[in-house]
């Protein structure tokens, strides 16, 4: 049963537009896309819209390059290319989280070239520890909530928002269970399948996703495979964008045990409190406490030390940096991240990729060599404990 569910999810991930179009036809509802990933999807969902995560895809990039310089972020160029090539025609709206310069600038370019009925930015605070941050963020979330309500023609009620928060928490909880299953026994679900499911969770109807994930988790929990010793790795960067990388890890005996990726564990790590404070405040608190990423450093929990701490806690034998070419925030952090890892004696490998890239051939050799170095004899495939 688990295998069949996994197939359904994988197909959704391979053709993200189809599910959402079917939903649109069936319900007559509206779809609000978002660039990854800090956007408070719960608000979109609470308004009755379908939150659709734009996760990149295979598309001709040249149409985007008329609008965006080739040295801008490839995730941003790829997303715009998808829109310009008609691959996102089902979108009724778009929310762009302003986390770096490329993404901040694409918002206006997108609006100019492919205007949608609802377009907005999510201007999350870039400092998160002073009292001003939370107060401002509450106002910003209120503004987005109001905007979505206006677009729907009816304010989002507190009950609606709480309902969506519960659903999303439940999604996240199931996805975390999946991560845990993988961590305890990587053979139960491979690196590639794990991240494929996570990606699919951004493009599948969230109610349906809960059913699929529940079934999947249950069937995997029932699997009684004997754990196999693998080489534990931590991933750090912005995105996992080439599934082949996960294949290379799978085939060389690597098991990802944690990450700080926007489309990885960082996406599901923190829940939104369902009680205690107002739902909007809960959303704000969640945002302020997310896993440190390259957008801004957090003085009380610097990213480089968080990286070391997490890698050690998860007993990772190495860190794989997944950087996008031209990603400035990651690049400014890299030297210090590397120093911190070296001081802690944790080996790492940095690989640089681009969305829209098609031949990751060389990466295989580099990843295999790294795996051999960090894992040593663990890497003999299928070696029993």
């Amino acid at each position: 049963m688990g295998i069949e569910v996994l197939e359904v999810i994988k197909q959704a991930s391979a053709n993200p537009g189809r599910q959402v179009q079917e939903w649109k036809q069936r319900t007559g509802g509206k779809v609000i896309g978002f660039l990854l990933t800090d956007v408070p999807e719960e608000l979109i969902h609470a308004a009755g819209f379908f939150p659709f995560g734009i996760c990149g895809g295979s598309v001709r990039m040249d149409r985007a390059e008329v609008h965006l310089q080739s040295w801008s972020c490839s995730y941003v160029r790829n997303s715009l290319a998808l829109a310009l090539n008609g691959k996102l025609d089902f979108l009724d709206g778009l929310i762009v989280p302003l986390t770096c310069d490329s993404i901040r600038m694409v918002s206006g370019i997108w609006k100019h070239n492919r205007p949608l009925p609802y377009m907005g930015n999510y201007r999350l605070p870039m400092q998160v520890e002073r009292p001003s941050a939370k107060k401002y963020l509450l106002g910003e979330l209120e503004r987005i909530k109001r905007g979505l309500g206006d677009y729907r023609g009816k304010d989002i009620s507190e009950e609606e928002l709480i309902r969506s928060i519960r659903l999303y928490n439940s999604n996240r909880n199931l996805l975390r269970k999946l991560f845990n299953l993988h961590e305890c026994n990587p053979d139960v679900i491979s690196n590639k399948d794990l991240y494929t499911v996570l990606g699919a969770s951004m493009v599948i109807e969230r109610e349906k996703l809960n059913r699929l994930l529940s079934e999947l988790v249950k069937s995997l929990e029932d699997k009684t495979k004997k754990p196999v010793k693998k080489t534990k790795l931590y991933l750090s960067g912005t995105f996992i964008n080439l599934p082949e990388i996960l294949d290379y890890l799978d085939e060389s005996g690597g098991a990802v045990v944690g990450d700080d990726l926007k489309n990885g564990f960082r996406y599901i790590e923190a829940d939104v409190a369902e009680t205690g404070v107002s739902p909007l405040e809960s959303l704000a608190i969640r945002q302020l406490k997310k896993i440190p990423f390259a957008g801004y450093d957090v003085p009380s929990n610097p990213r480089r030390y968080n990286l070391v701490k997490e890698a050690q806690r998860k007993k990772a034998q190495g860190v794989l940096f997944l950087h996008l070419k031209y990603c400035e925030p990651e690049n400014y952090d890299y030297y210090d991240n590397l120093q911190a890892l070296e001081q802690a004696g944790i080996p790492s490998l940095r690989i640089e990729t681009e969305f829209g890239e098609t031949s990751p051939g060389q990466l295989q050799t580099r990843i295999h060599a790294f795996m051999e170095m960090v894992g040593g004899e663990n890497n003999v495939r299928e070696k029993e404990l």
């Binding site: 801008s72 600038m105 941050a133 401002y136 925030p329 690049n331 400014y332 030297y335 210090d336 940095r350």
Partner: protein
């Protein structure tokens, strides 16, 4: 073009900037904290608190103008900082690891202030610097404003200014002096007023002063607004420009066309670029860059007014707002064409220019062109490629008359 006489005021500026850097060098001995700041930062508060503000961006511009950005960058690149990061940042980071310092050493900070109004690069660079120097870092966060200013943003910025003032009080050990702030704001207003009066003369036909002159004379408006020295300087510059008007001395010998230029110049090729325009009888009259420092503070409500002035800078505004701004400049200065510099070092001013070129052309009918290069690094400079863009533009200008 070589017959063009330098402004007498240039000597005054050199002396003033020399003093400014000397102040920085001796600040530590005198127990004055050195703070790193960014160009679009409410430096008035630091001047009021008696802190010495130092501009790493200026260090980058200086290294770029002296054509050593690539050399300094190599030291940063050796540490893993990519050559496609901002040129100023690469100069600043590179100098830290350099064994040779062709433009002197970048001044080490005691505290780092930063603003993300301009871009996301400055915070990332300054975060890295705060780790390197092991000093406190304070970010004034400035979320993007769309077409109209928003109370949400102004309030957030005011809250942060208050947080910053408390932070400063801890550093200086003294209560913040709002009376002194009012005086600094008054001086800053006066500096901005004089600077913009000078810039406005570029609308005259022929004009005594143009964009390339402005690039030369802008250091004090960036670094020293809020000080009496800056007021004196721009008063002297204004007098000299008036004198040139009276004597009929133009900025370029045969001004036929006025050009709008976006944005920062190509520092290592400033003379080449200015000669190129002049040789086609084009006066580059205006740029949003040099016009960025046009603040007007209300002394009755200092923090609110600082928040409005600094968050509403064009670089923190929407696509459409920036189009309008450019068109307002076109109109005010009566430009005949526009040149947009797609600068690899600066995504917030460059991304969107490809579309803006065609929109501006459609809306105004003026010829315009985009070219790609880098403000700092000559490795990304191709004279042939730029000429291939600009020559047809000059021909278009000539045929439009």
């Amino acid at each position: 073009m070589s017959e063009k006489k330098n402004f007498k005021t240039a000597a005054l500026m050199k002396e003033m900037m020399r003093n400014y850097y000397a102040q920085g060098a001796t600040a530590k001995e005198k127990g004055i904290p050195v703070a790193w700041v960014t160009a679009v930062f409410p430096v008035e508060i630091l001047y009021a608190a008696g802190i010495f503000p130092y501009y790493p961006e200026n260090f980058g511009a200086l290294a770029s103008a002296r054509k050593v950005a690539d050399k300094l960058s190599l030291y940063a690149e050796a540490k893993g900082y990519a050559h496609d990061l901002c040129g100023y940042a690469r100069c600043g980071i590179g100098d830290v690891y350099a064994t040779e310092h062709p433009v002197g050493e970048i001044l080490a900070p005691d505290v780092i202030f930063c603003c993300n109004t301009q871009c996301g690069t400055l915070p990332k660079w300054f975060e890295a610097a705060s780790r390197h120097y092991n000093v406190p870092y304070f970010l004034l966060d400035s979320p993007q404003i769309p077409d109209q200013p928003e109370e949400l943003i102004t309030d957030y910025y005011v809250d942060q200014l208050k947080e910053m003032i408390s932070f400063l009080e801890e550093i200086t050990g003294e209560p913040f002096d709002y009376g002194r702030l009012a005086e600094v704001l008054r001086l800053s207003n006066e500096t901005c007023r004089l600077w913009n009066e000078v810039l406005d003369t570029s609308a005259m036909k022929p004009a005594p002063f143009g964009f390339f002159d402005a690039c030369f004379h802008m250091a004090p408006i960036v670094t020293m607004r809020g000080t009496p020295e800056a007021v004196n300087y721009y008063r002297a510059l204004k007098e000299e420009v008036d004198e040139r008007i009276n004597k009929g001395i133009p900025a370029i010998p045969n001004e036929r066309y006025k050009i709008y230029f976006d944005h920062i110049p190509l520092w290592p090729k400033l003379r080449w670029l200015s000669d190129l325009f002049a040789s086609h009888n084009c006066l580059v009259a205006v740029s949003q860059y040099t016009h960025s420092w046009a603040y007007s503070f209300d002394l009755e409500r200092p923090l609110e007014s600082l928040a409005e002035n600094y968050t509403e800078e064009f670089v923190n505004r929407s696509f459409e707002y920036r189009l309008q701004l450019k068109m307002n400049f076109f109109k005010k200065y009566g430009v005949d064409g526009f040149v947009l510099f797609s600068n690899r070092s600066c995504k917030p001013t460059s991304l969107g220019l490809y579309d803006k070129r065609s929109v501006l052309n459609e809306r105004t009918g003026l010829p315009g062109v985009v070219f790609d290069a880098d403000m700092s690094d000559l490795r990304f400079f191709s004279e042939a490629q730029i000429l291939a863009r600009l020559e047809p533009f000059f021909e278009q200008l000539a045929s439009s008359r």
